[in-house]
Point group: C2
Chain length 427, copies 2
Amino acid sequence: MLDKVSGAADIAAMMDALGRNAKSAARALATASTEAKNAALHAMADTILAAKDELLAANAADLKSIEGKGLLPSFIDRLTLTEKSIDGMAQGLREIAEFKDPVGEVITAWDRPNGLQIERVRTPLGVIGVIYESRPNVTADAGALCLKAGNAVLLRGGSDSAFSSQAIHACLVKGLKSAGLPEHAIQLVPTTDRAAVGAMLSGLDGAIDVIVPRGGKSLVARVQNEARVPVFAHLEGLCHIYVDASADLDMAKKIVVNAKMRRTGVCGAAETLLVDKAAAGAVLATLVNDLQAAGCEVRGSANVLTQIPGLVPATEEDWSTEYLDAVISVKLVDGISGAIDHIGTYSSHHTEAVIAENPAVVARFFNEIDSAILLHNASTQFADGGEFGMGGEIGISTGKMHARGPVGVEQLTSFKYRVHGTGQTRP
Amino acid sequence: MLDKVSGAADIAAMMDALGRNAKSAARALATASTEAKNAALHAMADTILAAKDELLAANAADLKSIEGKGLLPSFIDRLTLTEKSIDGMAQGLREIAEFKDPVGEVITAWDRPNGLQIERVRTPLGVIGVIYESRPNVTADAGALCLKAGNAVLLRGGSDSAFSSQAIHACLVKGLKSAGLPEHAIQLVPTTDRAAVGAMLSGLDGAIDVIVPRGGKSLVARVQNEARVPVFAHLEGLCHIYVDASADLDMAKKIVVNAKMRRTGVCGAAETLLVDKAAAGAVLATLVNDLQAAGCEVRGSANVLTQIPGLVPATEEDWSTEYLDAVISVKLVDGISGAIDHIGTYSSHHTEAVIAENPAVVARFFNEIDSAILLHNASTQFADGGEFGMGGEIGISTGKMHARGPVGVEQLTSFKYRVHGTGQTRP
């Protein structure tokens, strides 16, 4: 257990050591076999299941330490481990063991006229830093995803789940050792000092290749603003659905309600509904009615209010608001052009969906909107690594460099070129 | 022509406008047809050829302005435009027009059990900032590569070639307009104020997606240290060649001399030769002899000096030195393990080559060295986008994110997901 009172020099020295250990582990992991990595993951799962009592006890200690602090039930909920969630954590590790190992995969290969044979082959990224809040299971999930792709990882969880994360981490290290992998493949960064986060954001003197923040907006914003290394993150999931006049109404009803209400707190939840002015009047009324029946507050633009006067008026701010709640803002737009304009203005470049049967409308939607994920006739709630078939994700990125959309095992890799020659020299 | 005395507020306002214009142009370019982009490139080439006199006159003005400043002949050489280099610039544009357009290419596609069909499709990156020195032709080369991939570009050349760059830029803009593309697709950033570079490095308020520095080490280092946006760059090309005991000696001789001496000033020039201790004594002597005969100064480690006493002794610093000259440092190493250790310590992660006939040696070289380009039985001088078949490159990157190795048209892209549904909602 770490001494809560650490001097600045101590923190710096400790972070330095963490960085060096991570780089050293990354070198070994780059050539670790798929079998060894999978064996480690299964051993981690076994250890976690065998340590249920210890994990629950550690979690109880975390929960006790936040008693009386007036934290919201939803927050406490995210902190809490149960037998079921521990089973889920172990199962997640086994599933990651089943993923295809991306390391060593030949992405593409070609021959040159002079006989050189060039291959672009996947390699690990190196060292990944994950900064997260609340959910202790991220310790296992993120650690495992990084490991599968041959990376070393530095995990910095929230102080509220410190005991839980440490207990989980101990299981992970046992699993690593039993498979002959370096114990520093997965390291915990102490949560007792905020300076540790600053050190991570600076990149730990070149040790960290990329940082993934998992948590609320203020954490993500801080990381995006201060990090001196690349970041995989999204600040907001301000997702739009556009219902075109050519849409199948039954399909639109199901998708719109699912996109908003399946889970309102996820980044893929729809926040704004755009309806084609040329759609029959019944379309708007039906969609609003179904949303309200599902328990959603509907806020309407001026032109929506002329058709459905009883709604809460939407202000300019509503179009830029990610509610993460049972609230949606609705506007009538001038067809696909109007939808593209609105989305182009307010989008957070995460996920947008179009419900339409007119292929020209779909083509424009796909071509002219610059978001990570564009869906036709499907719910925005599919914006998820698991739903994409990646098996899992460490997060969703709205940036355009390296990884966009769900960041799964394959995205936690880089590549290098292998050039096979037979003595060629360059003229 | 810009007023040399500009206030800070003027610079800020001007850079702001450049950024907004670039973003606006990027939106239009994202959906520009391949035909339009190619037509623009050909029109640019035509305009450049027709404007030879103007280009040469502008260049003469640049050369006159640096007279008497005591600049090196090689520097003046890089600044100078000739009829031949202008022809080459135009030809380069036509070649870029022939490249495959990466925008819209479906990188990969797969179906989900629930019927969703997912495509990962290439898109432009957006806005690219290129900061370069000396060579006015970069104005055309870099502008064209970015355009072909559907990006808007901000070009900030050296003040020494300001008139030349402006004249070339005017030709590029004519070409854009004649093809109906936005004139702000390619903008010049004024060279009269260093604050403009700082503004670019800060990302111009989110307008710039990536920066590419082209020039000497101090420029690249400044950009890497100060940029708040991603950078495609390499600081050094400290390339190694390892000659294994299993190498074909004739092949080794040709490759080693080519790798060092073909062009000593390029990033792919070999700077350190590692020879397997187990290689016959004649191997070292032959290689050193051939290098010296080709005009190269050979510096030897202590163990090399015991075999060839007359060499300049190599110091510790030599192993970390990119000579960019007819100088090479040579060391005897303990086989592939010794080579991997040395390269792991001193490499700049750019390009390394192994000359060997033993497949196990080659496999270890390829697997255990973390550089962008690894060659077997071929010269390090092939580290070049043209030689890789990319047609051209905007630079070479040693970073591990997004683009590694030569950065060609395909690397100047991002991607998005198009998900085709038939009404799916998520359970």
